[in-house]
């Protein structure tokens, strides 16, 4: 509770770090802010070419099927792999100034989250073009699903950012892990493609429920099942609590280890 109160006092710092991150990311490039939209669009183009013409999946409008899951996945996987560098990259201020250390992973996750929200503008455009019926009632569910994913991503960032201060290999390990994790999540394939006896294993992965929920809303235009959502929420809560517990323990010695 103390941490929450302190984070609130330092809200301006969090906001500024997010702003700085978003502003500086595309600074100096010719297209600037447009990359934020161009990036997911180009990735979509690649996957569409690969999975609609070469590896045919036999799924109607596969580009949309994949894209609505891929953008949220990208948010999570960036937190998992690049989240490792969050504290490390700011070692100058960590070693010299006191502030609640949680600000760093929080700001990083928020900035990635905002990035995802902007990518969703592209998703909506693609949905509109593809002619899928939009179900406004289902769309209302988007907010809680995003919130749950945010909680999960924040917990993950807390965990990996703290651990990698002590253990620098995390960065490379998480890069590989996030690649493997993507194939263990139904991002480019539907859940029912997995043999039935293994499907429960798939659901051990918290990202499975979240991916399924996104796809229900945006591809199938239905409200996600309460069961799916609840499962995702519980998983996310556990990860956040665990991540914060680890971070809290490890942050005391950040200044010495860096």
């Amino acid at each position: 509770m103390h941490v929450v109160k302190e984070l609130w006092e330092y809200r301006e710092m969090t906001a500024n770090l997010v702003k700085r991150d978003l502003k500086s990311r595309y600074k100096g490039s010719v297209l600037g802010f447009f990359w934020m939209f161009l990036n997911p669009l180009l990735q979509l183009a690649v996957y569409t070419v690969v999975f609609s013409t070469i590896m045919k999946m036999g799924i109607d409008r596969f580009y949309l099927f994949m894209f609505v899951a891929f953008v949220p996945w990208l948010f999570f996987s960036t937190c998992l792999s690049s989240g490792t560098t969050v504290v490390f990259a700011q070692q100058d201020i960590v070693k010299k100034i006191y502030f609640p250390r949680e600000v760093l992973p929080l700001a990083f996750t928020l900035s990635q989250f905002i990035n995802m929200l902007l990518s969703f503008l592209v998703i909506f455009a693609v949905v509109a073009v593809s002619g899928v019926v939009i179900n406004p009632l289902a769309l209302l569910w988007l907010a809680p699903v995003m919130l749950v994913e945010f909680v999960l991503a924040l917990g993950t960032t807390l965990l990996v950012s703290a651990l990698s201060v002590y253990f620098r290999d995390m960065e490379h390990m998480m890069g590989i892990l996030s690649m493997a994790w993507m194939y263990l999540t139904p991002v480019i394939y539907p859940v029912d493609m997995v043999p039935e006896q293994y499907q429960y294993l798939l659901y051990l992965n918290p990202m499975t429920s979240i991916t399924v929920a996104y796809r229900d809303i945006l591809y199938y235009a239905t409200a996600p099942q309460a069961e799916t959502l609840l499962h995702a929420a519980v998983c996310a809560g556990v990860v956040l609590a665990g991540g914060q517990a680890v971070f809290c323990r490890l942050k005391r010695h950040f200044a010495e280890e860096l």
Partner: protein
């Protein structure tokens, strides 16, 4: 209950650091050195206790590595002690690092917001201060330019302006007062005195005794992780400087034994000895304030000294034990009236006397540096610390020199 009289209470804190021979961060290294990660502990703080009253300004002095910066880091909660307790009452602001989080591509104004928010200010608080921060930094014309276009002095001015704008109850400062040009330094100093006058508790880590003496009410001398002495800056610094010069003397004695005074044969001149005499012509190393001091230097001249003595310069500098340059005077060699004694063909002896009728330096340890230059200004000979002495006085005074003065009724 000790009450809220104290802004800072530190009791019996210890802190150890792990010193790794070669720290292994990677999986391979961790696996290879599992369980036998070679490191040793270094005790930086060995049970430090002190209290600082509200509104008091305290200076922490000591040698490099004595643990004073660690104390500051513990006070700001950047680090945590291994044992003992620290209680700091009120909002803490630390000036350990200037310009934290500055982004070169962003404007000065944007960076003020970022930097101030890292120091814990909310947007509203920054909005209220922004004009005074910009005014203090004197960067009005450049404030909307990206910071990368700033000179390093401008950069530091901006950073300092933000740092001092934080209204804290306890302000912690680490060696950062040498910012910008002379005018700006004076301004920073006035600002600090203003902050102090407003009742802020200040803790300063500094190697500059002058700064500490001017700002602080008390000094803590920290040595080997313990508080060695607490008291008025005047007393503590004197003892500290004495101890430092004793240490240096010890070291130079050790060195002299080891390197056997290398007098290169091709040196045009070489220094033989220096003596200090008082008014009564007896050799001394302790003088009273205002007393006469005579420096006698004896030198060997290998080459024909006439060449140099016509146009060469002899320069005598007075340096305080902490390295502060106090006074220097120079004279053409021939004017310094070297007394020659031709006892052999090669070596010519040269005796030089410098008389200070009133040595008005304030109490402390001082030494002389000798510098002999040729007509182009190139160094022929440099001798550091050729003679050392101590000044004593009864009544405490502050500063560097004694100035004749008189107190009268107006």
């Amino acid at each position: 209950m000790t009450g809220d009289k104290y802004a800072v209470e530190v009791s019996n804190i210890t802190k150890k650091f792990r010193l790794y021979d070669d720290k292994g961060y990677t999986l391979k290294e961790k696996a290879l050195h599992w369980g036998r990660n070679r490191y040793e502990y270094r005790e930086v703080l060995k049970g430090i206790s002190f209290q600082i009253k509200k509104g008091e300004a305290v200076g922490l002095i000591g040698q490099n590595g004595c643990g004073k910066s660690t104390v500051l880091k513990l006070l700001t909660k950047i680090m945590y002690p291994d044992s003992g307790t620290i209680c700091v009452r009120g909002r803490v602001s630390s000036l350990l690092e200037l310009g934290a989080g500055f982004h070169p591509d962003m404007s000065g104004r944007e960076n003020i917001y970022i930097n101030a928010s890292i120091l814990g200010l909310t947007k509203k608080e920054i909005d209220r201060r922004i004009d005074s921060i910009i005014a203090f930094s004197e960067l009005e014309e450049f404030i909307d330019n990206p910071v990368r276009t700033y000179s390093s002095g401008m950069y530091m001015r901006l950073a300092f302006s933000v740092a001092v704008s934080v209204d804290a109850d306890v302000l912690l400062i680490d060696e950062i007062l040498a910012v910008g040009d002379v005018n700006f330094q004076a301004k920073c100093f006035r600002k600090l005195m203003e902050i102090k006058g407003a009742g802020t508790t200040i803790v300063i880590v500094s190697h500059s005794m002058d700064q500490v003496e001017r700002i602080c009410d008390r000094s803590f001398w920290i040595q080997d992780g313990q508080v060695k002495q607490v008291g008025s800056p005047f007393d503590v610094h004197r003892n500290y400087l004495d101890a430092m010069s004793m240490k240096r003397k010890q070291r130079s004695v050790d060195q002299a034994v080891s390197d056997d005074s290398q007098a290169k044969p091709d040196d045009a001149v070489s220094f033989v000895s220096a003596k200090l005499r008082n008014k009564g012509q007896s050799i001394e190393s302790v003088f009273r304030l205002g007393e006469m001091l005579v420096l006698e230097i004896e030198m060997d001249s290998v080459q024909n000294i006439e060449e140099h003595s016509e146009c060469g310069l002899i320069e005598i500098n007075l340096v305080r034990a902490d390295g502060l340059f106090c006074y220097g005077c120079a004279a053409p060699l021939h004017q310094a009236k070297p007394v020659r004694a031709k006892d052999s063909q090669q070596a010519e002896k040269m005796n030089i006397r410098l008389v200070y009728p009133h040595m008005n330096l304030l109490p402390g340890w001082y030494h002389f540096d000798l510098h002999i230059a040729d007509k182009e200004g190139g160094t022929i000979y440099f001798g550091g610390n050729i003679a050392e002495f101590e000044i004593e006085a009864d009544s405490p005074q502050r500063g560097l020199f004694y100035l004749e003065h008189e107190w009268t009724k107006g």
